[in-house]
Structure formats: C-alpha cells, structure tokens
C-alpha cells in the first residue's frame, strides 16, 4: 500500500468508486434513471446508498427482530421509536453511534453525536428529557486512549449541558480492542402529549419545504460514506478525514429545539425532518419518499456559510443543527414570527410536487428550467468555479425520491463462524483457573478501569436538569419522573438502562446478546420498572469479513429471542459497521438501551446502597461458572469455556419478584449481579451504603466471580426479610441468605476479611492498587 496519494482523486479511478460506490451499484443507478447519472446525482446516491444510511448489509438480518406490541406507536424506520405509556403521554427513544468521528476528533465527534440524536427525538414532536451513553475506549494506560476518553466526555458534557438536556445514565468500558476505534453510542428519550406525534413526511402538493437553523457549510462532507462506511486507517491517514467531522453549536441547537417545538405546538408544521447523515439529500428524499410525493429543491435558496460551494457540497453537507419543515404556504408568516423570536434563520428552499421526482434546481423553477443531463458544471470536479448564479434556472438533478431512500441494494453477505469459536468451547472449556486469594482478586477487580467509580465522568454531565432525576447515574438503572412543560400530569416514572458486554459477545454473540438484554431488563427491575421497549446500537467490524457478518446475524437472533421471550418490542436501532482499525475488527458490541415504566413513582425506590443491620439475600440460581467473566478475562486472561445459558422463564420470575419487592417496599437495597460478579456487586453495595457485610456459606470461591444471569442481591430489614422469604417461595424463585450488613469490614467466612475503607479507596481511585495491603486470609467471625 502506498500511503502518499491514496486519498488523492485519481484520474484512472472512476468517480463512483471514489465516492464509495461499487461498479454494480453504479450500474443499478443507471438502470433506475435510464441514463448515466451526472456527478451531483452520483454524489447523492453515494451518500444515501452508503452502509451508514442504507443498512444494505444488515437489513436482511434486522427484519428478524420483533417490533410489534400494542403500545408501540412508531416502530423502526422513522426518526425515533415511539411508545404509548398511558396518561395521554407518548415516549420517543432512539440510540445512535458516532464512533468514527469520535476517533478522529473526540470532542466534536461526541458533541455532534449528542446533537444528532436530540434532533431525531424532537423531530417526532417530543421534548428531549434525557440522554444516556455507552462509551468504549482503549486502555487508560495509553495516552491516546486517555485523550479520546477525555475529549469524548468533555464533548458530551459541553454539548449536552449547554443544550439543556440532562445526561442521566450510561456505561463506560475500557478494553484494548477499542484503542484504535472507540465507540460512542448516545441514546435520547423524549416525551410528548400523545396527540402531538408528527412524522417525517411531506404531503400536499404546493406545500413549502423550509430549511431551518444553521447555515450550510463544507463540514461533514462525506461523513456517512468515506468516514462512517469505511475502516479507520492508521494515525495520519485518519487525521486527514478530520474535515469530514462536523462541528457542533449547542446554542444553535437549543434555539432550534425551542423553535421547532413551538412550531409544532402552533400547528404550523405538516411534517418535519432533521438533517443528519447525508444532509439535505437524506432529508428531502426521505420526507418525499415517505409521503409518496415529489419535491423541487432550489439550492440557490440554501443559506450557505461560504461562497463558491458546489451543488454537490450543498446537497451532502452534514452541517449540524438544521431541520427541514414542510408547511402550508399560508403558515409562512407564523413560521417567520416564531423563528425570529428564537433567532433561528430559515429559508424556503423548495416545494412539494405531485409525482415521485426529487429535482434539484438552481434558481427559480417557474420558467420551465431545462435539464442538463451530464453537464460538466454540476458535478464533483473541484477545479470548476461553478456557483449557483451561473447555473441559474437549470435542473441539476432529477431522480425518483424513493430510489435514494429505499432502493439501495440489499446484500446477503457471506457469513462464517470463526475457527476459534468451537475450539474455545471444548479445548479450553474444562479448565478455568483457580481462585488464589479472594481479597487480592477483589481489589484487582475494583481497580479495573471498567469497574472503578465513574463519578469523575458523570459528574461532568448535568444529570439533574428538569427536576426529574429521582435516581441518578451510578446505579443499576436511572429513574426519572414523567414530567415536562406541556405534558399531562402523571404519577408514572421512567427507568432507563444502557448495556453492552463485548466479553460475552466475543465468546458467543448469540448468547451474549441474550444475556445483555436480560441484564438490561434486570437493571430496570431493580428500579421497580417493567420493560416496555428496547433500542439497539449494533457496533461491528468490517461487514466484508464473513466472521463479522456471522457475529451480526447471531447477535440479531440473540436479541430477537430474548425480546420475544420477554415480550419486549424493538422500536429502533442503528448499525455501525467498519469498526476496524489497523486491520483488526472490534469484538461484536451490541449496545442495548431499554426503557421501563414505573406505574406509580411516589417514593424513591431502593438503590444499591446497603443499609446497616439488614439481611442480605441472593435471589436466583447458584452459579459458579466463571467463563466470560471480568475476573476470567481481565485477571486471568482466560477466555475459554461456555457462558451460562439463560432460562427466560426463570429470568422473568426473578424479575417479577424483584419488581414486586421494590413496589411493595419490602427491601431497602437491591443490585443485580453483572460486571465482576457477586462479590463486586456486594462490595459496590457496601461502598455506596458506607457499611460492611458478613457473608458465609460460600463453598466454591468461583461463585463470587461468576456473572451468571438472573441473579439479584437484596437487603431487607428483620421484618422485610420474612416477606422476602415468603414471596420468593410463592413465586418459586430460589433464595439464599448470604449474611448480614453491618460494621466496617467486608467479610466472607473462611475466604476474606477486608476493610471497607481499603475497598472504597481502591474503587474511587484514591489509592493505587499496588499499595493495597494483602487481604487477610481468614475471617475472624
């Protein structure tokens, strides 16, 4: 590979290839048009048919996800999923990745990821009430990974706080596998009175298309194609893609949110759509296509940030903070009033037409513009000084709108299970390492960057705005009141959880995906919430690698199986492929965002904080399988064996028990067993509650580190304990009393006796793990 001129346009390379289209795809475009596309048209197809926009490699698989439920108002395919939560209130949710931009320009990459997901939500007429994120970085030992991590966190903080939407939940993972290609997945939830729901579609011939917000510049050209739909190269070459990263302005977004919500309240808008990936091309073709209409767009009316922009640049720019509104001509005055109030710029750039054609014009369209089929002035060549004035009155492009939005090729790419898949199961499966010293190993886990206290991150996010955050970040799930200006009154609460686990999925993507969905549901149950809807962000490597497609297919089946078993509809999702750098694919990393509803949120649900003088119970089955655990992977580099299979009947009964216990106020603390296993869960409870514990009856120390599913730890008072035992019996859930809370030691009879302070100091990072005194081998109880 010769690095010197690989990014330079090449005289011998056909244009469609430079734009990321294959020869077959170029042929298909010519068939659709019945002629060769001109340069502008080719540019528009290249972004709309990119992997990022068209889901051409994943669509055949995503069809297998269950998306139906009586309370689903809008499923996948729109800007966001929307469910009916009762009391006249609908909730919109969506998750999206911004991985490659964040790898190249961490602050702006993450910031614009936040901006983009917010627009998807208020496009539906919903007021965004919270953000949540799932972040995956390389080891914090590496300066570059630290730079990316700090930049991403400040980007989320800088944009999210200023735009005025609280960031209330999330997870942060550190793993070598993400050092070249970090993951930044952002989820947003919005609320709206049910009747205000709007869809991103155009209708009514003669209606106007109005572009609102930020001016259109040269930022983000080819963001979805050259950046998001290709692997990351090493260092310098990726840095050359920096102009493909957009730049965000949260203040513009804040005004845009308020202006759009006011436009919707005033009934001015017929349809509205945000401009994200693929910019104006995507917004115009999708709204027209969804509404089965055509659209004429006059690019000379687009407010541009700099002079001399080429038509193709205007059509595919990914400049942030822009919306396309479809309005009746009679509403223009009212729109002007509202936009002026919020200091939001706008321009009428086109109108809805009969038929199905998306026509890009330059100059007024009322004097029968002539089409220039392949004029040299309307294309991609940068040496031309074409300005909109010179091409005045011409049709620059004319294509069926739906061909851009819906007719991208669909690929059933080759799939192949990796050779190690079976090997791991059988060759290594039988011999997991032994636990040497429980206390020392606990301390190592607490010092693990993925388990350690994350308050330094979430305390940089405003997580309290809107006075809804009843249980904030740092626990199993986050609990919010269901309240916003203009929303009907409600006693209900929302619970939110975002989860991923690449360890489980690298061992077995199908089972791993099932376990992640189960874990997400468990997090909601610990808040007393029933799960209502799920969104997923599927982060994978290069889809041209058969192993990657196999991982995706297995993951989709796993999610589908879990969702079917738990009657949970998938209402939206995002697929991020090409997470590959330096020739390595990331491990399969599906991230699951779940939304639950608490029927009556009248008191603060119990948190993971342990309360003094309580009985501590384990609900769920005995499990000493350490395969796939943090302990096995990170402490012992043991990646063999098989994950514990999940039994959904058992899972559901455990979760129903937990929800009942929370709702009936029978327990004072609750925490599900996940990353790090039972001992890390107990220790986190002790640290949060500032009280120790004394546990006995652990015969196999491996049980302390197993991450087997469907297990929850609860703490109950003397009186509550009787109810816990009775209800567990009634619901046929296995229950074991582990011990009691109290004192300032973390004690497990015969295995460990550690001071709470040393565990806490390691977990909060106030004390380097190397300075830990060795754990005392025996309890003295």
């Amino acid at each position: 590979m010769t690095p010197d001129n690989s990014n330079e346009p090449n005289e011998t390379e056909p244009l469609h290839r430079l734009l990321g289209l294959t020869d077959d795809e170029a042929g298909k475009i010519a068939t659709i048009l019945g002629r060769e596309p001109n340069h502008l048209e080719l540019a528009m197809y290249s972004v709309m048919w990119s992997e990022h926009c068209s889901y051409k490699s994943s669509r055949v698989h995503l069809k297998r996800l269950p998306t139906q439920a009586p309370h689903v108002l809008v499923g996948p395919g729109e800007n966001a999923g929307v469910i009916d939560v009762g009391d006249g209130i609908a909730v919109a949710l969506r998750i999206e990745s911004h991985n490659h931009p964040s790898a190249i320009e961490p602050y702006q990459g993450a910031a614009t990821g936040v901006g983009g997901i917010l627009r998807d939500i208020f496009t539906m007429g919903a007021r965004p009430i919270c953000l949540a994120d799932s972040l995956w970085f390389g080891s914090p030992e590496s300066p570059r990974s630290r730079w990316i991590c700090e930049g991403v966190v400040s980007g989320i903080s800088g944009y999210g706080n200023a735009v005025g939407v609280p960031t209330i939940a999330g997870e942060v993972n550190f793993d070598e596998a993400y050092s070249g290609n970090p993951l930044v997945n952002v989820m947003c939830i919005g609320v709206l009175p049910k009747e205000r729901l709007v869809l991103g579609q155009a209708s009514g011939s003669g209606n106007l298309a109005v572009l609102l917000g930020q001016s259109t510049g040269r930022d983000g050209i080819g963001g979805v194609s050259v950046l998001a739909s290709a692997p990351l190269e090493d260092g310098d070459e990726s840095a050359q893609k920096r102009p493909s990263v957009q730049v965000g302005d949260p203040f513009e977004e804040k005004r845009l949110i308020e202006a759009c919500l006011e436009l919707l309240d005033a009934g001015v808008v017929v349809g509205i759509q945000d401009l994200g990936g693929a910019g104006l091309t995507c917004a115009t073709s999708e709204t027209a296509s969804r509404g089965n209409v055509g659209m004429d767009v006059d690019i000379s009316k687009v407010i541009v940030r700099q002079s001399g922009m080429e038509p193709f640049e205007i059509m595919i720019s990914e400049s942030q903070e822009r919306m396309l509104a479809i309005i009746a001509p009679s509403s223009l005055g009212r729109l002007e009033e509202i936009c002026n109030k919020w200091e939001v710029a706008f321009s009428v750039i086109g109108k809805v037409t009969l038929g199905d054609k998306l026509r890009i014009l330059s100059g007024s369209d009322n004097d029968s513009p002539s089409f220039q089929a392949n004029g040299p002035d309307h294309g991609y060549s940068s040496d031309h000084t074409t300005s909109s004035d010179q091409t005045s009155g011409f049709i620059l492009a004319e294509v069926p709108a739906s061909s851009l939005a819906q007719d991208a090729p669909i690929y059933m790419r080759e799939m192949q299970a990796p050779v190690w898949f079976q090997a791991r199961h059988f060759e290594l499966g039988s011999r997991p390492p032994d636990v040497v010293d429980v206390g020392t190993e606990l301390i190592s886990l607490l010092a693990n960057p993925s388990i350690r206290d994350k308050s330094w991150i979430y305390n940089q996010y405003d997580h309290q705005l809107f006075l809804n955050t009843v249980v904030g970040p740092g626990g199993d799930g986050t609990v919010l009141r269901l309240k916003a200006p203009g929303l009907p009154k409600s006693d209900k609460g929302l619970a939110v959880s975002v989860d991923g686990n690449s360890r489980w999925c690298s061992m077995n993507p199908r089972l791993g995906a099932k376990l992640i969905v189960a874990e997400s549901v468990a997090n909601l149950a610990c808040c007393g919430a029933f799960p209502k809807a799920l969104v997923n962000c599927l982060n994978f490597g290069n889809p041209e690698h058969p192993e990657v497609m196999w991982q995706l297919s297995e993951t989709v089946d796993g999610i589908a199986e879990a969702c079917t078993a738990m009657h949970l509809p998938v209402v939206g999702g995002n697929v991020s492929f090409y997470n590959e750098s330096g020739g390595y694919d990331i491990p399969p990393t599906p991230v699951i965002g779940t939304l639950g509803v608490i029927e009556k949120l009248l008191y603060v649900p119990p948190t993971m904080a342990l309360v003094d003088n309580c009985h501590i119970f384990l609900l769920g089955d005995y499990d000493s399988n350490v395969s796939g655990s943090r302990w096995a992977f990170d402490l012992h580099e043991y990646k063999g064996g098989s994950l514990t299979e999940i039994n959904f009947a058992r899972h559901s009964s455990v979760m129903e028990l937990v929800i009942s216990l929370v709702r009936q106020r029978m327990i004072l603390s609750v925490h599900d067993i996940s990353d790090g296993g039972m001992l890390v869960a107990l220790t986190e409870m002790a640290i949060k509650g500032e009280v120790g514990f004394s546990i006995s009856g652990i015969n196999d120390p491996a049980e302390l580190f197993s991450e087997g599913p469907s297990r929850v730890i609860v703490g109950a008072s003397e009186q509550g304990a009787q109810s816990v035992i009775r209800m567990a019996n009634d619901m046929a859930v296995p229950l074991r009393e582990l011990g009691v809370s109290g004192g300032d030691r973390l004690a497990i009879r015969g295995l460990m006796n550690l001071s709470l302070a040393s565990a806490r100091d390691t977990w909060t990072g106030q004390q380097a793990p190397a300075q830990q005194a060795p754990a005392q081998p025996l309890a003295t109880s």
């Binding site: 005025g164 309290q464 603060v604 509650g689």
Partner: protein, 248 residues
C-alpha cells in the same frame, strides 16, 4: 451519603419556621418574574419550585423591557446566548437587563442562580467574576453550603451557620475578586453562602454574595433543584421562601 439523601433530609434545626401568614393569605400571592434568554434552561425548574411555595411565576422574554409588575426577579441557570464570549457577557445587553438594574436599584429583590449570578456580575449589580473551576472540569454534584449571613433577600428565612445541601452545576463557578473587594465583602457581611468543601476554587469558599443594599443575591448552587425530598434535598425551599418574603 447517597442513602441518607435519598430518604429525604429532615429540615435543619437552624432553619426558622416560614413567615406567618404566607399559607393563610392566597390573595397576596407574589408574582415572580423569571427572565428567559435564548439558551436559558432552568426557567421551568424555577417555576415548578416556586409553584410548590404557592408563588406565581411568569416567564419574561429577554428582549422585552417590561417586568410586568413582578415583585421579585429571578435570573435562572443555563447558558444565556450560549455563554459565548464569556458567560453573561452578551446577556447584559438584552433589553430586559436595563429594567432589572432599575428594579434592583429601587430595592427590588433579585436572585441570580448560576448563569444568573454570572450575568449579575457582568451587568455590575454584584462585584467580582466567575472563572473556570479549579480542575477545569464541569461539576454537577450535591454541595454543602453554610449560610454566612441571614441578612439578604435570599437568606432572611435562614439562620447564620445553617448547613444546606444544594446541588451545583457549572463550569465557571470559581468566584474571584480583588483583594480590596474581598475585604469589603467580608467587612460588610455580604458573603451569603460559603461551601463547606470548596469544589471549584472560589476565593474564601464563596458560593453566593449580596450587594450593598442586600436585595440582590447571586449564588452558584441551584436552590430550585433542592425543593423536593424525592430529588435528594429540600433545603433550597428556604432560599426561595426568603426571596418571596423579601418581595412582600
């Protein structure tokens, strides 16, 4: 700490009971004006918390000059004009600020919370400035503040020495001023709130100050976020109740 807070705090023994007559006299409902700039984001939270105190709140758009007979003014938190240039630097040129300055000079009670505090220093109603936090990070967390004087429009229902749990949420909350100004603030008993564990590097642990006539108060902690035990604290009620009392 989390467990204590989540169960709701009992009112501090230092806190005086609410002024007599407030509950029994709905006819005297105080109207509080809450100034909204493009980029403000805590205005509805202030409305909600004042609502729980039986006060009536009205939103005042920044470009208008009319305070609409408001008896007290709150400049809420957020990022007025995106905090571009410097927090509060552009907001001070909004039409409404002339009226707010006039209102304050006439003795009307004005409370600036967070971004509102920054605006009050920019417009010259309060001395000093708020620079970036020590550590150069945004901080959103519960803070413990001590009432340093009960002699201000935002602390008159509190007792000196009372300790309050009120969240902070800012990047530029590090109060600074000249040595002479600090001495003056101290000698004139104009430091209203001090942090117990200074989170941002503010000089003399200052979390809030008042003007010479004690009717204008700026504070970085958000009292409106501490008006409900379900959110972890209700200590902010006394701050807002003080403002209402000052408006009577």
């Amino acid at each position: 700490m989390a467990s204590l807070l989540s169960k709701g705090r009992v009112a501090s023994p230092f806190v005086k009971p609410l002024a007599q007559g407030r509950e029994g006299s709905p006819k005297l409902q105080i109207v509080v004006g809450i100034v909204v700039f493009p980029g403000s984001n805590c205005e509805h939270d202030v409305v909600e918390s004042l609502g729980s105190l039986d006060a009536k709140a009205q939103l005042l758009w920044h470009s208008q000059a009319d305070l609409q007979n408001s008896r007290a003014i709150v400049l809420p938190g957020g990022f007025a004009h995106g905090d571009y240039l410097r927090p509060g630097a552009i907001a001070k040129f909004s039409n409404i600020m002339n009226s707010v300055v006039e209102f304050a000079r006439a003795g009307g009670p004005v409370l600036g919370i967070c971004n509102g505090f920054q605006i009050l220093t920019e417009v010259g109603l309060l001395p000093g400035a708020l620079q970036k936090n020590r550590g150069l990070r945004f901080i959103c967390e519960m803070s413990q503040v001590v009432v340093s004087t009960a002699n201000s429009s935002a602390s008159r229902q509190l007792a000196q020495g009372a300790q309050l749990s009120i969240p902070i949420n800012h990047f530029e909350g590090n109060f600074t001023c000249s040595h002479d100004t600090l001495e003056q603030l101290q000698q004139e008993d104009r430091i209203v709130f001090r942090y117990l564990n200074n989170p941002n590097g503010s000089v003399d642990d200052i979390a809030g100050i008042t003007n010479e006539t004690r009717n204008v108060v700026g504070m970085m902690p958000h009292p409106e976020r501490a008006c409900d035990p379900m959110l972890g604290s209700s200590d902010g009620i006394q701050v807002l109740a003080s403002l209402l009392e000052a408006a009577q």
